[in-house]
Symmetry: C2
Subunit: 159 residues, 2 copies
DNA sequence: GGAGGGGTACTCGGATAAGAGCTGTCCGAGTATCAATGG
DNA sequence: CCATTGATACTCGGACAGCTCTTATCCGAGTACCCCTCC
């Protein structure tokens, strides 16, 4: 029970994209972070399907954020990469077995499922309060404001 | 990225155990819920390793809760079955690549990891506020107080 | 009648296969750029 | 000198294997009960 590693990559890429002017191809994002180019491309495709980024094909193509960074929450990224399926899925155990409760009596949700859903909602709420813009500002204050400028220059100079 | 299905089984078993007098073998718990006996045994072993239940071997053996139901939170069960490893693991991407931040400058935790950890803490906090005893009381009020008595009788009569 | 010993049946515990999902890779479809050519 | 046209190189997108983790199963180790035997 572990979150996909691609989530971390995707968030980092979104933060970087939020500070770049033009489109950035997946290959350069992979080179910057020293990760598999092909696999990161897969994550970017997920972001594209989720509507978080827009893909530009052709010579000077790449990915661009579709919305302002402050309007993209971490939850959006997690949903795009991992899917919206909840962590806990109730299989209605109470209805099974020789003493199972008949379905017509199961009006209220199973208390166990309810508790798990409440906790999951707390998790999602916490993720939805933090935006890509917030993260970018925090990175600027910790790693220095010139960090993103160096990245942009590296993208231009390219390897 | 889905929680192990065994978690649901384990919680249900803990709730049932909290209302039983004597030890209950894993086979009967499996029969009650109509799930794989062998696989549920594995989950019970995890609970035993986690110190939540005590195993009694021999003819009239089985599993018994080690603590009062009100002192066992759902989080304890999740930790016992899934392990205490966090959902999100930071691989320190910021240190990798040509523009990676040197380790000696990474004093503060990565903002991205920090945000994920905060959300995870909210999830765990929510889980830790609900005990097995709470769930048992909710089941009694929704499914009727006689439900657990029927189960106890079914365990005695056995199949 | 009571105590001791052996057998039996039941329990847990860990070691062992099958399946699904994540990780990683490849090649084809599409498009903007650039250069060459003709007017 | 400018517009058109073709080639080119670069991009994304989805289809294809390898591997780890979850799911499912089995058999051996250990223990309490029960019955039989002996005193």
């Amino acid at each position: 029970m572990k979150l996909s590693g691609g989530v971390e990559w995707a968030i980092h890429c979104c933060v970087v994209l939020s500070k770049m002017d033009g489109p950035v191809p997946a290959g350069k994002l992979a080179g910057l972070h020293d990760v598999s180019s092909s696999y990161l491309a897969k994550q970017m495709q997920a972001l594209s399907r989720g509507g978080l980024v827009r893909s530009l094909q052709g010579h000077a193509g790449g990915y661009v954020l579709t919305r302002p960074a402050d309007e993209i929450s971490i939850l959006d990224v997690v949903f795009a990469v991992e899917g919206k399926q909840p962590l806990f899925v109730c299989t209605e155990i109470r209805q099974r077995g020789p003493l199972g409760t008949p379905p017509e009596e199961c009006l209220a949700p199973c208390p166990i499922a309810k508790a798990m859903m409440t906790a999951e909602a707390a998790w999602r709420d916490s993720l939805s309060t933090i935006s890509i813009g917030d993260l970018a500002r925090q990175v600027s204050s910790t790693s220095g404001p010139e960090a993103f400028q160096s990245i942009q220059e590296w993208f231009s100079g390219a390897l």
